[in-house]
Structure formats: structure tokens, C-alpha cells
């Protein structure tokens, strides 16, 4: 059995190239769902899901609609200008409430929601970024028995986000982007 049902990836400034590499490194048979939360501009129509989709490897990145059921072997990207929540019956719920950590989508919001629904079946990965979103959400995931990886701040284009996450979660695994890739490539 796969060790996780969900791999949740949070990133902000400087994280997009790493997200692309991670997605490319996923084994094609992965059984979990990948949920990516990135800070993005609001009200600027962007096709980030296309940017992250690499057709040759068959990594298809999809922005879920409200109440869409989470499927294994799928990659989801939080739609811009909504928070992404998860319902107990394992479907997505979108939410247009106030910004959290100056962000919508906020990584904390999704991580906290995943922690309460999936408990120990979540792996959280937090990458480069310039604020401290994700730290509290990672704490919720760890305290519900999940696991967490933080990008080594020394390798991050913007170290504030990984650093804040580590301050709050000293037990999280610290890995370079290559380390994270290796970890994911052997996790099916």
C-alpha cells in the first residue's frame, strides 16, 4: 500500500521551477493525489496548469472545480483567487473568504484542511517563498500524524517560507530539491 493518499506541495516566490521538476520526477504509477498550492496573481487569467503540464511525461495538471472528487494518480492545482478546502467525503470545496497570510489560495488553509480529513496519510512539501504561509498548516499535518519535508533554506531562492516552517516544525525533514526529487521518485 502507498504510504500516503496525498502529497501536498506548497510554494511561493521561486518555487515554480522546482514544482515542475518534482512533477516530472513522479513515478508514472503513483497511487496518491498531488495537490499543489501556489501563490499567484489574482484577477490575471493565467494558465499555470498548462505551464506545469508536461505532455511528454504525461503529467497532466488540473485545476479542480468545486465539489470535484479527489482521484488517485492525479495532480491538482489550487485555482487562483480561491482557498482550496477538502470535505470529509474527500472532494474539494472552494472558498472565497478573506486572504490568509496575504494569500488566496493560502497554503495553511489547504494543509489544515488536509490534516483534518487525511490524518497520517498526508505528506506536506514546502518550497521557496517570501512569507510564512504553510508553517501552521504543516504543524497541523505533523500533529495529526502526517509527514513533512521542507526545502533546505540554503537552496531556496527565497528562504523566508522554508525557514518559518522549520522554526515551527523542527522535526520536518530538510532536503535539497534533488533530495526531494529522490524521495518522491521512490514513493509510489
Amino acid at each position: 500500500m502507498a504510504p500516503f493518499d496525498i502529497i501536498a506541495i506548497g510554494g511561493s516566490a521561486g518555487s515554480i521551477p522546482i514544482v515542475s521538476e518534482l512533477l516530472e520526477a513522479l513515478p508514472s504509477t503513483f497511487q496518491y493525489a498531488v495537490i499543489i498550492v501556489l501563490h499567484r496573481l489574482r484577477n490575471v487569467y493565467s494558465e499555470m496548469n498548462r505551464v506545469l503540464t508536461t505532455s511528454d511525461k504525461g503529467t497532466y495538471v488540473h485545476e479542480p472545480d468545486d465539489k470535484e472528487v479527489i482521484q488517485p494518480n492525479s495532480i491538482y492545482l489550487a485555482p487562483q483567487n480561491y482557498h482550496l478546502l477538502i470535505e470529509a467525503d474527500r472532494c474539494f470545496s472552494l472558498d472565497y473568504s478573506e486572504l490568509v497570510n496575504y494569500s488566496r489560495p493560502s497554503i495553511d488553509v489547504t494543509f489544515e484542511s488536509l490534516a483534518s480529513v487525511y490524518g497520517s496519510r498526508v505528506l506536506a512539501v514546502l518550497l521557496s517563498g517570501a512569507n510564512d504561509d504553510g508553517a501552521l498548516g504543516m504543524e497541523a499535518i505533523l500533529s495529526n500524524g502526517g509527514q513533512a519535508i521542507v526545502q533546505d533554506p540554503a537552496t531556496a531562492a527565497y528562504a523566508a517560507m522554508p525557514r518559518a516552517a522549520l522554526e515551527r516544525n523542527p522535526t520536518a525533514l530538510v532536503l535539497s530539491p534533488d533530495g526531494i526529487i529522490k524521495f518522491l521518485s521512490i514513493t509510489t
Binding site: 484577477n43 487569467y45 468545486d66 485555482p79 483567487n81 480561491y82 470529509a88 470545496s93 472558498d95 473568504s97
Partner: protein
């Protein structure tokens, strides 16, 4: 946000039946994930530490309930949110609405009215405002009170101006309002054919027939079953060949009414009632 107060699913059930029983609002089929966040947020803001205290306040204090209700719903909105959507209205929908002698539009779940003002601007620019009637409704009376004043905080005007231009707006946006200290008041002229009134999508009925119904970013707060029920109400409120617009990430796929519509704009989620 999160303080560490937690609240169980059973407690949420209890809270919902208390509110239903004492005040008549039914949140039973709201999507739980966000509803729970809202309850925790309200408790946090009011400095209420336990579920017991929350129940006590809600049972004994009508003023507290009013405040609670006001903060329980997600009241966030923007002018010209999703400029692409407004562009699609300008280019595709409004030219068709122009053929009706009177154009009736319903904004269900209009929050503080920014969406209705945006629509009034589109109609004004198309020369149709005079023969249009816009109805903005919401569950939350405090939102409607704000909406009637036509006031928008000044701090957002830069974003709204940008959205307006992105939506294809060609005028100087500032001619639509007067700046007053920290807020902008939208011109009376623009608001003359707008009516705001309370309407609860869960418990109230069809009240008129419309050529266009906008219900954007409201369905996301409902579970599938309630989405289905509300979509039926929205459909029954549409004239044959009328348009339904929902949020960019909302979908009719899980509803019974989906066969009654053609897709007019699949990205902006605009549908046309078949007959």
C-alpha cells in the same frame, strides 16, 4: 488564523439545529469544511473559548446572533471580479439582452453589491440601463444595508479600476463615483434601477422571471444536494432562453438541471436555458 479551539462534527450539527430552531436559518446543507472554519473564526473574533459558551451566547443574546450571522457567511466580493467574465457579458450576452423591452437581472447572493454595480456600469455603457431592472438579494441583512449605500472602500479602487479596464471598459472609471475620504460613493444615476432585498436561497421561492441570473461564488458554500436544490430555483427563475452565470469554478455537472442548459461560455461558466 487558527487558534487551537477545535469543534467536532457533532457540535456543528448541534449548532446548526440551535440556529434553525431559534432563528429559522438553515445551514444544514452548507459545505462543512468552510462552515466549520467560519464558526471557529467567529469564536476567535468574539473571544469565545468553548462550544458551550458559544451555545449560551447564541441562545440568550439576539444581538450576538445578528453579529454571528453577519460573520458566518463569507461576504467577500469585488467589482469586476474575473474581468474575463465581464468581457464575455459585454460581447456575447448584453447584445442579446438588448432585444428585450425590459431587461430583468437577478444577482443571487450579491454580498455588498459590488457585482450589481459592475453590471449597472456594463448596461449603462451599452445604453441599456434605463430599461433594465437589477435585483440584488442576499441572506445577510448587514450586506444589503451596505449595498444600498453604494459605498466601496477607497483602498480597493485601484484594483477595481484595473479589473474594469481588463473587462474592456473604455471610460475613465473615476467618473462613476465620488471619492470621499476613505471611500467611494457610486453615482445615484447608476443605482437608480437597482433594488436590494433579503432572499434566502435555501428557504425562499421564485419571486420573478429574469433574462439573466448571476449566482457566483455562492454555490461553493453548499453541499451537492443543496447545490442541486438551489440550481432548480435559479432555473425556475429564468425566462426561456435566459442566461445563468455561476462562478468560474462552479459547475452544473452535479445537478439535475444540467440538461436544461446549453453552454454559452465554458470558461466563464455562462449557460443558456434551452426553452
Amino acid at each position: 488564523m487558527m487558534n487551537l479551539t477545535q469543534i467536532t462534527n457533532g457540535e456543528i450539527d448541534e449548532l446548526i439545529s440551535l440556529i434553525r430552531h431559534n432563528y429559522g436559518y438553515d445551514f444544514g446543507d452548507y459545505a462543512r469544511a468552510s462552515f466549520q472554519r467560519r464558526v471557529l473564526r467567529c469564536m476567535d473574533q468574539a473571544g469565545i473559548r468553548s462550544f458551550f459558551d458559544l451555545k449560551y451566547e447564541l441562545t440568550n443574546d439576539q444581538t450576538f446572533f445578528n453579529w454571528f450571522l453577519q460573520n458566518l457567511t463569507v461576504n467577500v466580493t469585488e467589482m469586476f471580479r474575473d474581468p474575463m467574465f465581464y468581457k464575455s457579458l459585454r460581447t456575447t450576452i448584453i447584445p442579446i439582452l438588448a432585444s428585450y423591452p425590459t431587461i430583468k437581472i437577478w444577482h443571487a447572493g450579491c454580498a455588498t453589491g459590488e457585482e450589481v454595480l459592475s453590471m449597472a456600469i456594463l448596461l449603462q455603457e451599452a445604453g441599456l440601463l434605463e430599461r433594465s431592472r437589477l435585483y440584488g438579494t442576499d441572506l445577510n441583512p448587514a450586506n444589503l444595508e451596505r449595498a444600498r449605500q453604494g459605498i466601496v472602500p477607497m483602498q480597493y479602487m485601484k484594483d477595481y479600476t484595473y479589473n474594469y479596464i481588463q473587462s474592456g471598459g473604455k471610460n475613465d472609471f473615476s467618473t462613476y463615483y465620488t471619492a470621499r475620504y476613505d471611500h467611494a460613493i457610486f453615482n445615484k444615476e447608476l443605482r437608480r434601477n437597482i433594488v436590494f432585498s433579503q432572499h434566502n436561497l435555501v428557504t425562499d421561492q421564485v419571486f420573478n422571471e429574469f433574462q439573466l441570473v448571476c449566482c457566483r461564488n455562492v454555490l461553493i458554500y453548499f453541499n451537492r444536494q443543496l447545490q442541486n436544490q438551489v440550481c432548480r430555483l435559479l432555473t425556475d427563475s429564468l425566462a426561456p432562453l435566459g442566461y445563468l452565470a455561476i462562478g468560474m469554478k462552479e459547475s452544473l455537472i452535479f445537478t439535475d438541471v444540467r440538461q436544461q442548459f446549453d453552454v454559452t461560455d465554458s470558461v466563464c461558466r455562462i449557460y443558456r436555458r434551452k426553452t
